[in-house]
Structures are given as structure tokens and as C-alpha cells.
């Protein structure tokens, strides 16, 4: 499989009165065509910022983004507009991510109109909208409804339809199911898997829900405070976690089964502020195995075994 997206040492700092907030601090990975890369982490770990940098909703501070072997880090103007056809995003909140004053049809047709697809032929455009609605499982009779008349699951289908309208190759999914009820969540996850198979889509799936990410991803990146701490295939990660944070994270998932009580690792303390962070490993203050070295030198991401990367001084 060929590489579709390549991120090199991506950094995004936000200026705040107290100093630079290191939201994403030197993240590198590649995504192959047709696969799903899961990005997991807790709130404030920079996973959403990472996604927004990739789709150019935010400028990157440093580092490079390659899409189909082309450096797209600083594209703008018409080039960016062209790029948007290939790079789309599905948002988290099915309530705030769609304009409450627009009908379902006008939401889905907007990207098509902006990019003058189907030679600007209105009939063809509307036909395309109805076809997309079929694809995502929205009944055609809902075309003239307003979002407030629909439930969360249907609204999320609108969001997916809008992202699909431009026939993208790559979609960043920012917590697309975390606001939905479990039974609806399963419907949407199945839909996203079907779409991937049908259209050969490539996903970056950002979430805090580990069972969801395991279910949908081929590879998983675990992030902590703007840095990548562990990266490997989804199966391997759930069999063998190397980084102490990943271990704690996985042990903390509540499992809906009797007697599944593993030895839960309860982390001490909370995430420290990402504003002007201290040198050394970001996880060191909460880590059970922290050594002196961990507070001085930040660990590099290294390949501990084939296809299993970890950033920790223990290895």
C-alpha cells in the first residue's frame, strides 16, 4: 500500500498571555491509502488540534505535511481550495456542526456549489445530493427538513454526507460518535466502515474512546500532552502496551462484563499544563516508573520491535 499522508515533526503552538501553549509538539506518522489510523488521547492532548492542522483549519507552527507526496504544509488560495476536495473532516458535535438555519439539502449541496461540480448544472447537483443521502442512509423525504427536527444520529449522517459531497480521498474524523447513544453509535460506525470499503477512503479517527478506536482502526497512535507516546497496529496495542501511560489508559477502560476487573492502574494527579512545558518526558510527573533521566531528557519515538514504536526511556 502506498503512503497517502505523511506528517513530519508537526508542531502547533498557540500564543497565550502566559507563554506558548504546546498543543502539538513534534508528531510524525504516515497513513497508508485505505487504512484507518486511530488517534487516542484524553482531552487536551492535542488530538483535535492535530486533525485541524491536517485539514488546514489551523496553520502549522513547524513541521511538514505531505499528501500524495506533495508538500501541502503551506498551501493557500486556489491551491488550498483544490486540496479541500481531497481532504475533508467530520466533526464531533452533531448539534453545533451543522447550520441550524439551513435545510438538509442546502447543507449537502453547499460544497458542491462552492466547487462548481457537475459543470454548475443545478439539476445534476441536486441529483448528486439525493444520491449522497442514499449512501449515508438519510431518507430522501428529509431533504427539506431543518436540523432541529432531526435526532443526533441523523444529524451526524448529514455531517458525513457533507464531507462526502466532494468525493474526498481522505477524511479526518474528530470524535464522530462520542456525542451519540451507543445504539446509534454502532449504526454510524458501521456506516463509516461501509463507506471506507465502498469508496476506498482513508481515515484518521480521533477519539478518546478506546473500544471504538480498537474496533475501527488498523493502526493506533496514543498521544499525551501534544506528543506521540506509542504507535503500533491496533491488535498489537491491546495485546502488549509498552508505554506506562498506554498501560494505565487501557486498564482504566470500563468493560461491560462481569469479573473483567483487571489490575487497574490508577494514575496519580492530572494532566499538567501544556503552556511552556518543562523539559523531559511530559508524562514523567504522573508516571509510576519515572527515573531522574525522565525529567531531563524527552524520549524519542523509537522502534522497540517491528512496527511497534514507543517514546519512553524504559525501552
Amino acid at each position: 500500500m502506498s503512503e497517502l499522508l505523511k506528517i513530519q515533526n508537526l508542531k502547533k503552538y498557540f500564543k497565550t498571555p502566559k507563554g506558548d501553549l504546546h498543543a502539538v509538539d513534534g508528531v510524525s506518522f504516515t497513513v497508508k491509502k485505505g487504512e484507518t489510523l486511530g488517534v487516542v488521547g484524553e482531552s487536551g492532548c492535542g488530538k483535535s488540534t492535530l486533525g485541524r492542522c491536517i485539514v488546514h483549519l489551523l496553520d502549522t507552527t513547524d513541521g511538514k505535511i505531505y499528501f500524495e507526496d506533495k508538500n501541502i504544509t503551506n498551501v493557500s488560495g486556489n491551491e488550498l481550495k483544490e486540496l479541500r476536495k481531497d481532504l475533508q473532516m467530520i466533526f464531533q458535535d452533531p448539534f453545533s456542526s451543522i447550520n441550524p438555519r439551513m435545510t438538509v439539502k442546502s447543507i449537502i449541496i453547499e460544497p458542491i456549489q462552492i466547487h462548481h461540480m457537475y459543470e454548475g448544472n443545478k439539476e445534476k447537483q441536486e441529483k448528486a445530493v439525493l444520491e449522497i443521502m442514499d449512501t449515508v442512509g438519510l431518507a430522501r423525504r428529509l431533504a427539506d427538513s431543518y436540523p432541529h427536527e432531526l435526532d443526533g444520529g441523523r444529524r451526524q449522517r448529514i455531517g458525513i454526507a457533507r464531507a462526502l459531497a466532494l468525493n474526498p480521498k481522505f477524511i479526518v474524523c474528530d470524535e464522530p460518535v462520542s456525542a451519540l447513544d451507543v445504539s446509534i453509535q454502532a449504526q454510524i460506525l458501521n456506516l463509516m466502515q461501509d463507506l471506507q470499503e465502498e469508496k476506498g477512503l482513508t481515515y484518521i479517527f480521533i477519539t478518546h474512546d478506546l473500544s471504538v478506536v480498537k474496533h475501527i482502526s488498523d493502526n493506533i497512535c496514543v498521544m499525551y500532552l501534544g506528543t506521540l507516546v506509542e504507535k503500533c497496529s491496533s491488535e498489537l496495542l491491546f495485546k502488549k502496551q509498552l508505554h506506562p501511560y498506554t498501560q494505565a489508559l487501557l486498564s482504566a477502560i470500563p468493560v461491560a462484563k462481569i469479573n473483567s476487573k483487571k489490575n487497574r492502574i490508577i494514575l496519580k494527579g492530572e494532566i499538567v499544563s501544556p503552556i511552556s512545558p518543562a523539559p523531559g518526558c511530559r508524562f514523567a510527573p504522573r508516571c509510576l516508573y519515572a527515573k531522574d533521566e525522565c525529567f531531563i531528557l524527552s524520549p524519542e519515538l523509537k522502534e522497540f520491535e517491528p512496527e511497534h514504536f514507543v517514546a519512553c526511556h524504559l525501552y
Binding site: 479541500r84 473532516m89 458535535d93 453545533s96 456542526s97 447550520n99 453547499e110 457533507r162
Partner: protein
């Protein structure tokens, strides 16, 4: 069983708001007042029993009677006819100054809210300066500089109102700007102007409409005040404020000359304010259950 969608009415946002407004008896009453006012203004020529400038020196200072329902003034002109004609000026000045203020203030507010940073700072400090001068004083000085007249009256009132709209629009743009659907629009490649006009402005229309209804009352009052001071509409064109002004000297002996234009102003302002409150409740259901 039917799924959720079938049940809810298909009216969209404005339809729902209208349903809520209809339930508010006070607001409907106020709406009726405003509609009657508009009707009077439009058909003033047919409704008024006499021409507004017909002077009848045999019947001056008449108190209300059969021929002149609201009496006559010092030139023997029919007060009812003058009030009916006066509604034209009041509504015209009210509407047009508010529209001018909304367009200018709204644009300033939308741009400074959307772009933020320096643009925002520049525009908002300018607004602060305008706001630091009492609105009436500003209107008076503008009216004085621009010479009296209908157009200048509108300009004077509109300029004084701009900062209010700029602030309202800016505040709602700021809250809407952070919502994900704006990001989604950027993500599909929408231009800034498309985002402002298609996504942001329709979503902040509700507070603007409320502010406009309440503001119109203020504008009509300002127009009357300026005319009262002789800076607005000039005689013989009837205007409620200038009618009050010219009747002022007879207030002790012929109080009906001041009472009726005063009541006309009062009823209009009252109607607009009640309607504004009703609209606010109807358009923003979160404020009132």
C-alpha cells in the same frame, strides 16, 4: 409509532417563532397597533377627514367636537388629520433610520467580530467614542450641523444608533464563530464573505430584529424630540414632535393640542416596546422556557 421527524412542524425556525408569538396576547395586541399605524400612514390621504394644512380661522382652538374629533389648533387645522399624516413621518423616520443603522452597524459588527484582532480593536474603539457621547446630544449636534430636514433627521438618528447594533451583532458573531459549522464551512472551501453572509448573519438575525423593534421606538422618540427642538421636520409638515412643540405655548389653556399628539407618540412607543419584548421571547425560547 412514528419517528421523531414526522411529528414536529415543518415550519422551520421562523415558523416556530411565529407560533410562539401568536400565543403571546400582549405582543399580538401590540402588533395590531403597529399595523393600524402603518395602515394610517399608507392611507393617510383617504383616512384624514381634512387636508393637514387646511386652515380655518373661524374654528381655532376648538376642543374635540363632532366636526373635529380631536379639536383644532391655533390655525384652525384639524388635529386628527395632522396626527394621521404625522404617523407617516414618524414611521418613515423610524424605519429608515433603523435600517441605515442596522446595515452600517451590522456590517461593522460582523466584520470586527469575524476577523477579530486589529480590525476589531479599531472599529470597536471608534464605536466606544460614539457611545461616549449621549445619543440625543450627538443627534442634536449632527442635526444642527446638517440643517433641518427629513434626510438629515434620518442620518442624525442613524449615526447615534450605529454603535448599539455594532455591539449586538459583534457579540452574536463571536458566539457563532466558534461553532463547528463555521469550521465545517471553511473545510469545504467556503470564502469569508460566504461564511459571513450565509452562515453567520442568518444566525444572528434574531437578536438584531429584537434590537431593531425596540430601537425603532427610540428612533421615533428621537425624531419627535429633534422636531420639538426645531431641528427636525419643519412646519407645516405635520410631525408629532413638532406639533407638541408648537402647541407648547397653549398648554395651559388648550391642553388638547398637546395631549393628542402626545398620546399618539405614547401608543406607538408602547406598541413597539411590547412587540419587541414579545419578539425576544418568541425568537429566543431559551430566555423564557
Amino acid at each position: 409509532m412514528k419517528p421523531l421527524i414526522e411529528r414536529k412542524n415543518k415550519n422551520g425556525f421562523w415558523g416556530d417563532a411565529w407560533c410562539r408569538l401568536k400565543k403571546n396576547k400582549g405582543a399580538m395586541f401590540a402588533l395590531a397597533i403597529i399595523l393600524i399605524m402603518i395602515f394610517c400612514a399608507v392611507f393617510a390621504d383617504r383616512l384624514a377627514p381634512y387636508p393637514y394644512d387646511l386652515q380655518d380661522y373661524n374654528h381655532t382652538f376648538e376642543t374635540p367636537n363632532r366636526q373635529h374629533l380631536l379639536g383644532t389648533d391655533n390655525f384652525g387645522r384639524d388635529i386628527l388629520s395632522r396626527i394621521i399624516h404625522g404617523s407617516r413621518i414618524s414611521l418613515l423616520v423610524g424605519f429608515s433610520s433603523i435600517i441605515v443603522a442596522i446595515i452600517l452597524g451590522g456590517l461593522l459588527g460582523a466584520v470586527s467580530g469575524y476577523y477579530g484582532g486589529r480590525v476589531d480593536n479599531l472599529f470597536m474603539r471608534a464605536m466606544d467614542i460614539l457611545m461616549a457621547i449621549p445619543g440625543m446630544l450627538l443627534a442634536i449636534s449632527l442635526a444642527a450641523v446638517l440643517k433641518p430636514g427629513l434626510l438629515n433627521l434620518v442620518i442624525a438618528i442613524a449615526v447615534a444608533d450605529i454603535p448599539g447594533y455594532a455591539r449586538v451583532v459583534r457579540a452574536s458573531v463571536l458566539s457563532i464563530k466558534d461553532q463547528e459549522f463555521i469550521e465545517a464551512a471553511q473545510c469545504v472551501g467556503a470564502s469569508d464573505s460566504r461564511i459571513i453572509f450565509k452562515h453567520i448573519i442568518p444566525n444572528c438575525l434574531a437578536p438584531i430584529i429584537v434590537q431593531a423593534t425596540l430601537g425603532m421606538a427610540g428612533a421615533i422618540l428621537s425624531a419627535s424630540s429633534l422636531s420639538f427642538l426645531g431641528l427636525g421636520i419643519q412646519p407645516p409638515t405635520p410631525e408629532w414632535g413638532s406639533m407638541l412643540s408648537s402647541a407648547r405655548q397653549y398648554i395651559m389653556s388648550y391642553s388638547h393640542m398637546t395631549t393628542f399628539p402626545g398620546i399618539a407618540i405614547m401608543i406607538t412607543i408602547f406598541g413597539l416596546n411590547i412587540l419587541g419584548d414579545g419578539l425576544r421571547d418568541a425568537l429566543d425560547p431559551r430566555l423564557k422556557n
